[in-house]
Symmetry: D5
Subunit: 96 residues, 10 copies
Amino acid sequence: MVYVVEMEVHLPETWSEKKIADIIAREKECSQKWQSSGKWKYLWRVAGKFSNISVLEVESPDELHQIISSLPLFPYMTINVTSICKHPNALRETIL
Amino acid sequence: MVYVVEMEVHLPETWSEKKIADIIAREKECSQKWQSSGKWKYLWRVAGKFSNISVLEVESPDELHQIISSLPLFPYMTINVTSICKHPNALRETIL
Amino acid sequence: MVYVVEMEVHLPETWSEKKIADIIAREKECSQKWQSSGKWKYLWRVAGKFSNISVLEVESPDELHQIISSLPLFPYMTINVTSICKHPNALRETIL
Amino acid sequence: MVYVVEMEVHLPETWSEKKIADIIAREKECSQKWQSSGKWKYLWRVAGKFSNISVLEVESPDELHQIISSLPLFPYMTINVTSICKHPNALRETIL
Amino acid sequence: MVYVVEMEVHLPETWSEKKIADIIAREKECSQKWQSSGKWKYLWRVAGKFSNISVLEVESPDELHQIISSLPLFPYMTINVTSICKHPNALRETIL
Amino acid sequence: MVYVVEMEVHLPETWSEKKIADIIAREKECSQKWQSSGKWKYLWRVAGKFSNISVLEVESPDELHQIISSLPLFPYMTINVTSICKHPNALRETIL
Amino acid sequence: MVYVVEMEVHLPETWSEKKIADIIAREKECSQKWQSSGKWKYLWRVAGKFSNISVLEVESPDELHQIISSLPLFPYMTINVTSICKHPNALRETIL
Amino acid sequence: MVYVVEMEVHLPETWSEKKIADIIAREKECSQKWQSSGKWKYLWRVAGKFSNISVLEVESPDELHQIISSLPLFPYMTINVTSICKHPNALRETIL
Amino acid sequence: MVYVVEMEVHLPETWSEKKIADIIAREKECSQKWQSSGKWKYLWRVAGKFSNISVLEVESPDELHQIISSLPLFPYMTINVTSICKHPNALRETIL
Amino acid sequence: MVYVVEMEVHLPETWSEKKIADIIAREKECSQKWQSSGKWKYLWRVAGKFSNISVLEVESPDELHQIISSLPLFPYMTINVTSICKHPNALRETIL
């Protein structure tokens, strides 16, 4: 099953530059681990914003939550989750 | 350049069943023409809603508008357009 | 997989009383067919509103869409879809 | 009487990791006490979000408030409360 | 149990003056029947708007829905329902 | 003249437990002073939320502001103010 | 007592040009009657929108409602009502 | 003085194709008259939407309103108006 | 030219009482300087809220910005700016 | 390709005056570097608000993101990005 997830980061204003640099490095490592696993299919930057749009193919809603909630910035993001499926007008046989 | 476009249909309540069936058939034909052209990369149904999320790769913003505004349901949809680009954490070299 | 779906009806103002009574009767028949199938687990009325909150257990997002979009009032409802999973604090072993 | 309650956590950015771990542990203990009592019927995680959807069966609005406001994270959540009742199209005789 | 209900009327633009006058007369009759029953405690006009704020004391959420949904204008109102209870700072022993 | 006022508390995350307990005690004292005066007619807890709905009968908008702005939590609340009057369908002769 | 009222007109799409011209003429007559009475102090056009911001000085909330609801376009406007009073920083002794 | 104005068209569903084609032709003529006058500096299409963003340089707010309200689609658009001025970081001496 | 400006204060939770008292005193001094100049025509308190509605008559949008941005609380307010002009139904010859 | 970007600054309440003055100076330097490059065509102040509306002409969405995200205040702004193109009613041959 496939989800489109939009995440917008709200960077805490009270954190030191070191703490911010550290969490951003761990965020990168974590998201790349899931990309390597083949489950995080697309990770797109929204042009001009501290946001991304992502496409994930997972076994279950539980697995989606395991992935997204493992991100170090998870508690500091506004997240929208959309469950998608095949469109009757789509020519492509599969979703991805 | 790549856009993520979300379209939600608001079906006119005063149209006859025939008029609705007709416009939905023309909508399908039109969207499939653009899919065949290779510019409309993904057309996903939002599960449980009269909406789609689409991914289009176009030459210019003008071409994006030409495609979306050619849809017969264009005046009766709420449309959100997001311009996307490469994310610094993305493993994939290209956007699509 | 389980979804919580909220549907709010916007009754068309131009329809005759007969047309409205007819579509509401077909809506009932349709929703009861899916309840009988065991997939539409809960159908709750929001007290004081022309809305319901429903819980559906389906095989896939495609099946969720098949069920919701088969409702005669589907084009005239504002629909919110939430994909849910097991909560780490839940005592219950299964979702439902 | 039955309520559907959605709670979204906004984790304070200035709290130490220890203070956060502590409040999350107490949150778990508190919510499980109410689940054990039989009043907190369902506790679902919203997939991909720091939110839950819960179903509670209580004696009165006062009891609902007693339960929700006893949660340690209560002041740091956005909470939506919906009072539900029997739907005319529901096959099930009781709400739960 | 007590509810605060806010109702905002959206008068259909396509109805004849006679049809509007008729439904407004039936609305008055219906709301006064429920006021006479003692369940609809307060019916206040929001100054300057086609809205009311009402306070109802009912046996159950089902009874609240029975009352509100019996109003002829029910399908043409935006309705907000709030379930209230005793406030810890209130001097008054009872809610009403 | 009568106002319906809804107040939602946003508890500062950086305050000590003692500072919070202190302001909540002073809030109680202040609201009870105004209730005793007969101007703050109803103080209702919104079930499940850190909010109240209140009904105040005052001499003027200035007096309403004097009362609400004297609350210690005033700067940390989202406040909605609604001016109400007699409804043409109301059976009751007076507003309260 | 003084109110600031913002009104945004939503012109019905199904009305004939004659019906629209007629209601706009009656709207003018009605608003000028209230301006002449001295109660409708200011009537400002919002530049570029089909909206106005008005300032009214009335005896009571009931009188405000009597004035606003007498406007022929009343059912077809989105209306926001704000009750104002003396500001502690204001140099002017009176509100108007 | 310079304004940025965003206009989103909501095409009436009950109008005939002829009536729509006619109003769109008159809309073009009207907007081009104002562009020729030198007051309507920029007229941009929002890519993928039935909206435009425009920049107008006018003598007064009254003149802005005269221009925008002369558009045949004026009553059927959602319009946002922003008054702009020189930014302290701008290198350009003039606004346009 | 005349603007209606609504300002809502969000008092920082981390500031000392002394710092808050100081900025509020400077806010008063600053707003009174502009009122004395004759440009800040009305300063109204929104009854029951930490907000004001103001009416300013200025030479240009730049002057409006100079005034509003000179307020010490400027960075901690949510501000809405509306440019107004003469209404066709207004009896008064001038705006103020 | 051309974008209209609106940025609203949310100044952190916990930063020292020196830290704020420093970041505002670096913000100016950074935005002026991009204006000098010819890519940041217009930088307008929204009158009365801590916001700007900007027009940028860039090679790609990636370049837009490079510019906007290089601003020191980037993580502390609410940003809206609109991709624009030629309007069918525009007299001007080019967008800028």
